[in-house]
């Protein structure tokens, strides 16, 4: 049962092959059995899950089911879930029981999903390896010496290990796509503004976007149908009708123009990963797509720009964690300044502190123009590169990450080397474009991800292209040994 996709499980539930309660029990048992090894969950909610599962069974019986009714689901612990601890991977929020549901959470709830729990993540989504979590490192199910990627590493590992058929993730600079690639699953970052950010604890507000992490593109389409949509509580949410993402999965790729940015295939790319990507491009050619070489000349500036914009925004987004209204508060503060400094000093980990300091520096008087304003200008250049590219092509393809999963601890010493693991994913966030990572092979038994980037609001086209590929390849069906 646990090896089935969301689409298959939905059909099974509606056909009465199994109940949601049975399904939920099966996944809870798998979590119980395997998560000691993986550490992919921060909080498991068995009681809530079984309660929601029996409600879902009643709904299915009453013929009122949506494609997600009764499907077990895990939320990245960045989404506020009412009555459930929402830690954001931080000691700061270890005691934070959210008083409200994120819009995404309530949308999925009303679609009838069953909440298995909250998945592990890099602290406040800052990291590319899940090693910055207060709750410990998550192991990659393909090789437990390897990182699962980050920041949605818990979600990626849990889906890959079949501890949940689907999980939510968020992506600020690659945090859905990079762990999806490193764990061999499908992860979609929608267009900025497509999925509500309300209740998704902010890292960098102009970059953050929630999305589905699933085994297949078909599943991602089903989940995105329930996640996407306008939210009047989010000023940056776009009031644009949501198409049925499942409707165009089988559209032919004949004549589709796919651009390969030459900057994505230079010396920074691991050659074996490059070979896997080349092979997948050949599949697209077989499917009728036309391959065009393009240039995104400012690609090399994406990481530097991102490491100004994201820290600047996060430095002020995280000011609300001050030990006054919720979250960690230091013991017996001497005065107000002591309350702030110790609560925050104790509550945040090193990477979070680093980014807050970097962002504070970039916004501080005398440096604003040289850093923040400069980065905003380069952000425009990077975005313009894409705009020009999409005048000639329909999709961009390339690697999701420059290498397969690295070993735990390998990049801990040097934050910059860690930052460079997001070199191919960050630009889509800066521009606000939708992008997906899908399994595209293995190098030394670790998964490779193929990234497709689409034009604004062309999630349907991305999902179609990913689905077609998954019809002719079976990388997405590989199953990590032992799980």
């Amino acid at each position: 049962m646990h090896d089935k996709t969301v689409a298959q499980l939905g059909a099974g539930l509606r056909n009465g092959e199994f109940s949601s309660v049975e399904l939920t029990r099966a996944f809870l048992e798998r979590i119980e059995k395997h998560d000691k090894t993986l550490n992919s969950f921060i909080t498991v909610t068995p009681e809530l899950a079984l309660e929601q599962a029996s409600a879902a069974d009643a709904r299915i019986k009453a013929n009122e089911a949506t494609p997600l009714t009764g499907i077990p689901f895990a939320h990245k612990d960045i989404f506020c879930t009412q009555g459930i601890r929402t830690s954001c991977g931080s000691k700061m929020l270890d005691n934070f029981i959210s008083p409200y549901d994120a819009t995404v959470v309530s949308q999925l709830k009303s679609a009838g999903i069953v909440t298995l729990g909250k998945t592990n993540m890099d602290e406040f989504a800052m990291g590319s390896s899940n090693e910055t979590s207060y709750y410990g490192t998550v192991k990659n199910p393909w090789d437990t010496n390897a990182v699962p990627g980050g920041s949605s590493g818990g979600s990626a590992a849990a889906v890959a290990a079949r501890l949940t058929p689907v999980a939510s993730g968020t992506d600020t600079g690659g945090s859905i796509r990079q762990p999806a690639a490193l764990c061999g699953i499908t992860g979609l970052k929608p267009t900025y503004g497509r999925v509500s950010r309300y209740g998704m604890i902010a890292f960098a507000s102009s970059l953050d976007q929630g999305g589905p992490m699933t085994r297949t593109a078909e599943d991602a389409a089903i989940v995105l149908n329930a996640m996407a949509g306008f939210d009047e509580r989010d000023s940056t949410s776009i009031d644009k009708p949501v198409p049925d993402y499942s409707a165009h999965l089988n559209d032919s790729l004949e004549g589709l123009k796919i651009g390969l940015p030459k900057e994505y295939f230079d010396e920074g790319l691991d050659s074996a990963v490059g070979d896997a990507i080349d092979a997948s491009i050949k599949e697209y050619q077989k499917l009728g797509a036309e391959i065009v070489e393009i240039s995104l000349p400012n690609t090399h500036l994406a990481v530097p720009t991102y490491y100004v914009v994201a820290p600047a925004e996060c430095s002020t987004n995280l000011s609300r964690f001050d030990g006054v209204r919720y979250g960690h508060r230091c013991d017996s503060p001497k005065n107000l300044e002591d309350l702030y400094k110790r609560s925050r000093g104790e509550g945040f980990g090193d990477e979070v502190k680093r980014r807050i300091m970097m962002g504070t520096y970039a916004l501080s008087s005398g440096y604003y123009d040289a850093y923040y304003l400069k980065a905003q200008k380069i952000r425009r250049l990077i975005s313009d590169d894409f705009r020009k590219a999409f005048e000639k092509i329909d999709l961009i393809a390339g690697p999701t990450a420059p290498s397969v999963a690295f070993n735990i601890g390998e990049k801990n010493e040097d934050p910059v080397s860690m930052y460079l693991s997001d070199i191919y994913t960050i630009a889509a966030n800066l521009a606000g474009l939708p992008a997906i990572s899908i399994p595209a092979g293995f190098v030394t038994d670790r998964p490779v991800g193929l990234q497709l980037i689409g034009n604004y609001f062309e999630e349907a086209r991305l999902l179609g292209a990913a689905h077609q590929y998954q019809q002719v390849t079976d990388w997405h069906n590989h199953h990590p040994e032992g799980f």
Partner: protein
């Protein structure tokens, strides 16, 4: 040395919206602590701001009323600092691109001339909560009900040269925002408050001196006193050869002194940057025009109309248009009086306002309605009662005894205008006072008043004074 003061004001006006600027929580004053602070106001993790349309409309209304440039595109920015009454650790404000640009208004000076004061800008921002310093075991309590209330910060040019000018400007803005119905102007509740920037320079010098900022002045009287005391303080420093520190000071009304608020040398670095949770506010010229059309008649326009069409003096017109409520009341009195505008102006600015002041009652709570006052004035105009008797009638109306006609009727206050009746009374008085009559007739004119008094006394003040005068003259001069 002769010194000149340079003053600029930053006025904070709470906008009279029902809900907060970025959340759907209520803005009512005086509710139990933190019961009007929703998840957004509390800065819960994950929450987001959405801008209140009415706040934008009110800001534009203000801008058009002072002939200001309205920005077609304005941007919200985060002003970052840590304080317990600021839940997010930043205040959402406007920095580089405020919604209202440069404008101006005219104030009247004591010598009757007027002076133009420039408004640099006015921007939208959220108010902070309140720290309560009552003792909670040595701790401070924080109430976030006020957090997120919309504020319009109105920044003036450093155009004022005395505390009186500053107060005149502040009163003008106060009257304007109430005319526009964008702020209730309640200074006790903090709906309207100001910070004053004050510096001194030798008279004739062009450059400004170093300024001190006095925070949170919440009455006109305090503004005047705080500025004057600060002027003295700065002059004392300068004359002793010292320098004024650029700092924030607090006015202590009990001690009538200003004192430094933050002794920390720490330079503030607010790290303003565009709030990524909000998009630029865009207004088309049609949007702005539409709002401009909703402007009521403004104080200066009303004043002009009152002098032109009611024939009032500039002074009376100024007093009567100082608040929209008073002007409306006056106009209703004029209507009910049958257009006796001058008499109405005398009564409203005279006895009526004196009675309100004495009782400490706001005009909106006046026990005398405009209709009743107008009705009474009509009876003065048509000679039913004299001006003197009117004072009695007014008092009775104030005490709730009914309208003028009812009171006149009930108390028999109707003026005696029947010449033969008055003549009969006069004849009797002359007959009863032969000595005085003799003296008057032999040239002691002053005694005329005696006869008037006697006549009025005999008629209990109801005789028409003009008739009494002419009849007395006729009879006595015989």
């Amino acid at each position: 040395m002769e010194w000149e003061v340079v003053i600029g004001l930053e006025i904070h006006a709470q906008l009279a919206t029902k809900s907060k600027i970025f959340s759907g929580a209520a803005t009512a004053y005086g509710t139990a602590p933190n019961t009007q602070a929703c998840a957004v106001d509390l800065g819960m993790p994950g929450v987001l701001p959405v801008l209140n349309k009415e706040a934008v409309r009110m800001a534009v209304k203000f801008g058009t009323a002072i002939d200001a440039h309205i920005a077609p595109r304005s941007v919200f920015a985060r002003k970052n600092y840590f304080y317990p009454d600021l839940p997010k650790g930043y205040q959402i404000s406007q920095f580089e691109l405020p919604i209202v640009g440069a404008g101006h208004l005219d104030i009247e000076l004591e010598d009757g001339s007027s002076k133009r004061i420039g408004v640099t800008r006015a921007h939208l921002e959220e108010d902070a909560g309140k720290s309560l310093h009552e003792d909670f075991h040595g701790l401070t309590g924080v109430d976030l009900n006020r957090a997120g209330t919309p504020l319009l910060e109105i920044v003036s040019e450093p155009d004022m040269r005395s505390a009186k000018e500053a107060v005149a400007y502040m009163k003008k803005i106060h009257s304007l925002v109430r005319y526009l119905e964008i702020c209730d102007g309640n200074m006790q509740e903090g709906s309207f408050r100001c910070d004053a920037n004050i510096s001194m320079r030798p008279k004739g010098q062009k450059e400004f001196g170093t300024r001190a900022e006095i925070k949170n002045l919440n009455s006109f009287r305090f503004v005047e006193r705080a500025i004057n005391i600060e002027i003295e303080r700065q002059i004392d420093i300068l004359e002793e050869g010292g320098t004024v520190n650029q700092e924030t000071r607090l006015y202590d009304s009990a001690k009538n002194e200003t004192r430094s608020m933050r002794s920390k040398e720490e330079a503030f670095d607010y790290r303003y940057f565009p709030d990524p949770d909000l998009l630029p506010v865009e207004l088309t010229s049609e949007d702005i025009e539409e709002i401009r059309k909703t402007l009521p008649e403004l104080p200066h326009q009303k004043k002009e109309r009152f002098t032109n069409s009611f024939g009032l003096t500039a002074y009376d017109a100024g007093v009567l248009t100082s608040s929209r409520e008073l002007a409306d009341f006056f106009e209703n009195v004029v209507i009910s009086s049958g257009n006796e505008s001058k008499l109405a102006a005398n009564w409203v600015t005279g006895d009526f306002m004196a009675a309100l002041n004495k009782a400490g009652i706001e005009i909106t709570k006046s026990p005398v309605s405009a209709e009743h006052l107008g009705g009474m004035i009509q009876r003065i105009a048509d000679n039913t009662i004299s001006g003197k008797i009117a004072k009695q009638v007014f008092e009775a109306i104030w005490n709730g005894e009914g309208d003028a006609d009812t009171i006149i009727e009930k108390k028999g206050l109707k003026q005696i205008t029947d010449s033969s009746a008055i003549e009969a009374i006069i004849d009797e008085i002359i007959a009863n006072n032969p000595a005085q009559t003799e003296q008057y007739r032999s040239g002691k004119d002053k005694l005329f008043g005696f006869f008037v008094g006697q006549t009025m006394k005999a008629t209990q003040g109801k005789a028409n004074p003009a008739q009494v005068n002419s009849l007395l003259k006729k009879k006595l001069n015989k």
